[in-house]
Subunit: 588 residues, 2 copies
C-alpha cells in the first residue's frame, strides 16, 4: 500500500492550455503525465503505474500467443535503414542521432537514427541467427520506446515524439504459416484489448509505407479519433478510410453503349467540376471524368475518378511507387498539353503519352456512359466520352473515397462512418524485408527459401490515453479495474486520529490480500478536496473512513461508476471489501 503523502500525485484544478481533448486534460489534471516539450511527456508516478499494468497484460497475452520477448536498441545504424525498403519515406519522420559536440556530420547523411519501429533491425538479426526450418516459426517482440519526429505533436500521448509500443515480428517458412501467425497475434490483440477494458474493433487497413499483403488496424471508437472507420455492424464489415471500398459498381456492369461521336466544345474559363455542372453546360458531376496528375518516383501518371467523387490519396499506395506527390501545373502542361482545368485522357489528345508511367482509373468511372472530360486544350472539353472506347487505361483500381450510405461490399447494406483511435496495427508483410536483407532458411530438402514475415504493433502509451478517452465523466477518469494505478482508494478523513488510521491499515491489508493495490489518502486536507481528487484520479473502489462514521461503527464504500454510497458495519468491513475486490477482479 502507498500513502498519498509519501507518494506524488500533483492534481490540478485547471486544464493545461494546450489540451484540446478530454483525455489529454485528464492525463495532466490527474497528475499522470507532465509535458517536457512538444510531444515529450514524463510519466508521473500514478501514470507510470497504469502504464506498467497495461504493459504487463500485453506481455502476458503476447507470451501466450508464443511471442518471445527481447529488447533491441533505440539507436540504429542508419546504414541498415538505407539498406531497407522504406528509407526515403521513413527518414522524413525519423530523428537522426549525431554527436552533440562537434556537428561533424552536419549536412551529411546520418550515422545513427532513432527507431520508430524495428523491421530493419530484427530482419538482419534473424537472418544471422536462424538458418533452418527447424527454428521456424518464431515471433519476437519487445515493449519499448519508439521515436517519431512529429512536426505537429498533439493530443498528449496520442501523437507524441516519444511513445511506447509493443512491436512484434513473425518469421515463417511459408505463406500458410505466416497467415497462421497473423491470426494467432490477432487473437492475442483481441484478448489484450478486452483485458485492459477497451472496446477495440479490428478493421481492414491499408499496408501503407510498411508494405505487405494485408493488414488490420485496431481502433477504439471515439469522437476525437484521428481515423475514420467505415463499417456495418450487421455484416461485420469494418475498414479504415484508406482501405474502405463500397459496392457501388455492380460486379456484372456492362459498358455503356456509346451514344454518339466524340465532340470537342469550348468551355472558356471553366476550370472546375462545379463550373461544368453549372449552366450553360449543366453536366452532372457523375457524368464527368476528373483527371488528376501525380508524380510517382519521378515520372508523371494520371488517375481518373468520377467528377463527383473524391480521391482517397492513400489508395495510390497500391500502385507501387515509393514516393508519390501531386504534379505541378508546370510539370503537367508539357505532358498533357494543357493546364489543369482542361485535362483529360481521351486517346490521341495527350501530347506526350510516352512520358507517362500509366493511366490509372477508379472502378466507378465505369458507371459513366457518354461522359465529359477535358480536351487537353486550354478552354475546351470533350463530350460523349466512353470508357472502353475512348480512354487508354493502364489498369483499374480503387482510388475513390467511400461515402456513408454507400453499399457495404460484403452485404450491400448501407455503410456507416465513425471516428476511431488507432491503438494497434498488424501486417502480413510477406517477403518484402526478408528479400532486402537476405533472410533465408534451408528446408528439409536443403533448399533455400525466403522467410515470410508479419509485423505487429500496439501503442501502449496511446492505449492508456484512449482508455481515458473512452472511460471518463465530468468529474474525472473512470479506470477499468485491470489497469487502474490503484484499485482501492481509502480516504482517511482524520489521518491524525489513531483509531481511524488503524482501521485504514487493516482494511488496506485485507484489500491487498484479496489482490488490490491500495492507496491511502492520508493528506491533511478537507474531505471535499479528497473526494474531488478521488473522482479525478478515478480509482474504481473508494472507501471513506472518518471519525464520525467510526463513532457510528461504519465505513463507507463507493464505486467510481456509481453515485451510491454503502455503509459497511465496521466488524464486517474487511471481509466485505475483500469480497468486493475479488468480485471486481474476477469480472475484469
Amino acid at each position: 500500500m502507498k500513502l498519498w503523502s509519501q507518494f506524488f500525485i500533483p492534481t490540478l484544478k485547471e486544464s493545461p492550455a494546450d489540451a484540446e481533448i478530454a483525455s489529454h486534460k485528464l492525463l495532466v489534471r490527474a497528475g499522470l503525465v507532465r509535458k517536457l516539450g512538444g510531444g515529450l511527456y514524463t510519466y508521473m508516478p500514478l501514470g507510470l503505474r497504469a502504464l506498467q499494468k497495461i504493459t504487463q497484460i500485453c506481455r502476458e497475452e503476447i507470451d501466450g500467443a508464443g511471442g518471445i520477448e527481447l529488447w533491441m536498441p533505440h539507436v540504429h545504424p542508419a546504414e541498415l535503414w538505407e539498406q531497407g525498403p522504406r528509407w526515403a519515406a521513413a527518414r522524413e519522420i525519423m530523428f537522426r542521432a549525431d554527436s552533440a559536440g562537434d556537428g561533424k556530420r552536419a549536412g551529411r547523411d546520418p550515422e545513427f537514427v532513432l527507431g520508430p519501429t524495428h523491421e530493419e533491425i530484427i530482419t538482419p538479426l534473424v537472418k544471422a541467427e536462424i538458418t533452418s526450418y527447424r527454428d521456424l516459426p518464431k515471433n519476437f517482440y519487445q515493449i519499448a520506446t519508439k521515436f517519431r519526429n512529429e512536426i505537429r505533436p498533439r493530443f498528449g500521448l496520442m501523437r507524441a515524439r516519444e511513445f511506447i509500443m509493443m512491436d512484434s515480428y513473425s518469421f515463417d517458412a511459408n505463406d500458410e504459416g505466416a497467415i497462421k501467425s497473423y491470426h494467432a497475434i490477432k487473437a492475442a490483440y483481441e484478448k489484450f484489448f478486452k483485458r485492459v477494458g477497451a472496446t477495440a474493433i479490428a478493421v481492414e487497413a491499408d499496408t501503407g509505407v510498411m508494405g505487405g499483403s494485408f493488414s488490420h488496424e485496431f481502433m477504439i471508437p471515439a469522437e476525437i479519433g484521428d481515423d475514420d472507420v467505415i463499417y456495418n455492424e450487421e455484416s461485420g464489415y469494418a475498414a479504415n478510410r484508406e482501405k474502405a471500398t463500397s459496392g457501388i459498381v455492380p460486379k456484372d456492369l456492362a459498358d455503356a453503349a456509346p451514344a454518339g461521336a466524340l465532340e470537342e466544345f469550348a468551355t472558356p474559363g471553366v476550370l472546375t467540376i462545379a463550373a461544368l455542372e453549372a449552366a450553360p453546360y449543366s453536366v452532372p458531376g457523375d457524368k464527368q471524368f476528373k483527371t488528376l496528375v501525380f508524380i510517382g518516383d519521378g515520372k508523371p501518371f494520371i488517375v481518373i475518378i468520377r467528377g463527383n467523387d473524391e480521391l482517397e490519396e492513400a489508395k495510390l499506395g497500391s500502385l507501387g511507387f515509393t514516393v508519390t506527390r501531386a504534379a505541378t501545373a508546370e510539370e503537367i502542361e508539357p505532358v498533357l498539353g494543357a493546364k489543369p482545368g482542361s485535362l483529360g485522357a481521351v486517346k490521341g489528345t495527350i501530347k506526350n503519352a510516352g512520358a507517362l508511367a500509366g493511366v490509372f482509373a477508379d472502378h466507378a468511372i465505369r458507371l459513366i456512359g457518354n461522359g465529359t472530360t477535358g480536351a487537353n486544350k486550354d478552354g475546351f472539353h470533350v463530350r460523349n466520352v466512353n470508357v472502353a472506347r475512348d480512354l487508354a487505361i493502364t489498369s483499374f483500381g480503387d482510388f475513390r473515397r467511400v461515402r456513408p450510405g454507400e453499399p457495404d461490399p460484403k452485404s450491400g447494406q448501407p455503410l456507416k462512418v465513425r471516428r476511431g483511435i488507432e491503438v494497434g496495427h498488424i501486417f502480413k508483410l510477406g517477403t518484402k524485408y526478408s528479400e532486402k536483407f537476405g533472410a533465408v532458411y534451408t528446408d528439409d530438402q536443403k533448399q533455400s527459401h525466403l522467410m515470410v514475415m508479419g509485423c505487429y504493433g500496439i501503442g501502449i502509451s496511446r492505449t492508456m490515453q484512449a482508455l481515458i478517452e473512452q472511460s471518463h465523466d465530468a468529474d474525472g477518469i473512470v479506470w477499468p479495474w485491470s489497469v487502474a494505478p490503484f484499485q482501492v482508494l481509502i480516504c482517511l478523513l482524520d489521518p491524525k486520529v489513531e483509531e481511524a488510521a488503524g482501521v485504514a491499515k487493516k482494511i488496506a491489508t485485507a484489500a491487498e490480500a484479496a489482490g488490490a493495490d491500495v492507496l491511502i489518502d492520508d493528506r491533511d486536507e478537507r474531505p471535499g478536496v479528497k473526494f474531488k481528487d478521488a473522482d479525478l484520479i478515478g480509482i474504481p473502489l473508494r472507501i471513506v473512513i472518518g471519525s464520525k462514521g467510526l463513532k457510528d461503527g461504519v465505513v463507507e464504500l463507493k464505486w467510481r461508476t456509481s453515485k451510491e454510497v454503502t455503509k459497511l458495519p465496521l466488524a464486517e468491513a474487511e471481509a466485505k471489501i475483500a469480497e468486493a475486490v475479488r468480485t471486481a477482479a474476477a469480472k475484469s
Copy 2:
C-alpha cells in the same frame, strides 16, 4: 516453464573477434546479447530475463528506501541542458537528435539531445510541482535507457552507447535532510548489490562533471575493471583513483628552514625531471618542483607538484573551472617567459603573473626543502627554493596520484590498489542544480530556500555483465540464483519418449510451485551438446531426465557450482527438487 525449442537461445562455440574479456565473450556465446553496432546491443530473450530480474530487485530496494518511480523522456530539449551547469562538458559525450530528413539544423546547436542522465529534466519538473516544505523530502527514480556517444565503445555492455540505468534524485529542505537521503540510498544500494549476488564495495569518489559536495562509487572488484580502487581493508579506507589521498604529508609538518639564497644556474638542454636527476646536476626527483601550466575556462593557471609525483588530472576538478586543458608551449611562453622545461613559479620570475588565474600547489611540495625549479629563462634553473619563502601560491590542494604502499590517510597503514568495475555512483549534489533552475520551496515561516539535492545511479546493464565477470568458470556463466534467467534447467535427453517428457513436466511444475523459473531443454540434440550448453548458460540447478535413468528409477540433480551429481529416486524427485529450490531461494 519454457521449452528450449520454442524459446530462442543461440549459443555459440566461438567467441566474437571483438570480445576482449571473459564476460563479453560469455554474453555473446551464451546467447544473451547480440551486437547491432558499436556499443549497441540487442538483449536476446535469455539476456533480457536476467536484466528484468536485476531491474525488479533494484525497483524493490529503491521503493523500500522511499523512492517514487516515474519515467522521463529519452529525448530532451537542448535548451534545458544549455541552462544547466555542465552543458559545455556534457555535450561532448551526448547525442543530438535532429530531423533525419532535412538536416536543417546542420551546423547549428541541437534542438534535442538524448539524455545520458536526467538532472536537467527532474530539477525543472520538481521546481514546477513542489513549492512547500510539506512535500519534502522526495526521492524520484526511474529505470530507463541512457545514451552516451562513446567514441570508443568496448567490453560489450561495459562501455556502450546505450545502457540501462536506475537513476534517482533526492530533494530535501536542508543539508541535514540531504545527508539522510544520501545514506538511505547508500543502504539501499548495498542491499541491492547483495541481493543480485555482487560483491560491491563503496569507495569515496570525485564528484567530477556532476558537481556536488561528496560522492561514493560502488565497485565490483575485477581485473578488467576500468577504475583503480585505492584501499586498505583493515582501516576500511577505499577511494577511487580521482579521489584517493595518502598520508605522506604529516599534518604537523613544519616548513623546512631555507638553507641558502636562491641561486640561478645554467642547465643547457635540460628539459625533463629525469635530465635534472642525472649527472652533472644530480637533483633527486623529490627535491624538484614540477611546474605544469593549464588553461581553465580560457585563462592560464599553474599547478606545482613534486618532481617524482604524477599529476592526477581529475583532481583539478576541485579548482572549479568548467573546462580545463593543458596549455600549449605557444600559450605558456608569453606568460611565464620560458618554454616548457625551464618553468617555475619563484616570485618575481614569472613574466606576466597578472595573466594567471592562480598558482595551485600540491600539499606534498611542502616536503621539499631547498628544492630546484625552472628559472622561467630557457636553459636555466634555480636552486635553494623554499615553498613558504619563495613561491607565490594561491592555494594548496591534493593533485598528485597516490602510489601503492603509501600510508592510508585514516590509519597510516600501507594502501593497496586493485581494479574494479564501477556499477553505481551516488552524489550529494547540494544546490548546484536547484540554483540553476530555481528549485525553491517555502518553509513554515513562508521563507524561500533552495532545495538540497542528491543524485544516484546504478548501471543495470553493466551490473549484469559485471556479475558474469565476477561469476564464471572455464565452461561458462555461473549465475547467482536471484538473477538467473531460469533457476532450473531440465535436460530432457529423450524428448520424444512420452514417459520422460511427462516426468519433466511434473518436476518442472513442482519446481515452479516452489518459486523457480524452469527451462526444459527439449531439443533433438546429443546429451553432450545439452550439457555443454547447460554449463555455458549457467542455470544454477540442472536436472537430467533420460530413458536410461528412468529405467533405473532415477533422475539426476547437479548444481552449476559443483561437479557432484546426485541421483534422486523418481518417487522423491519432485519433493527433493522443490526443497532444493526453496533452500536456494532462501539463501539468495
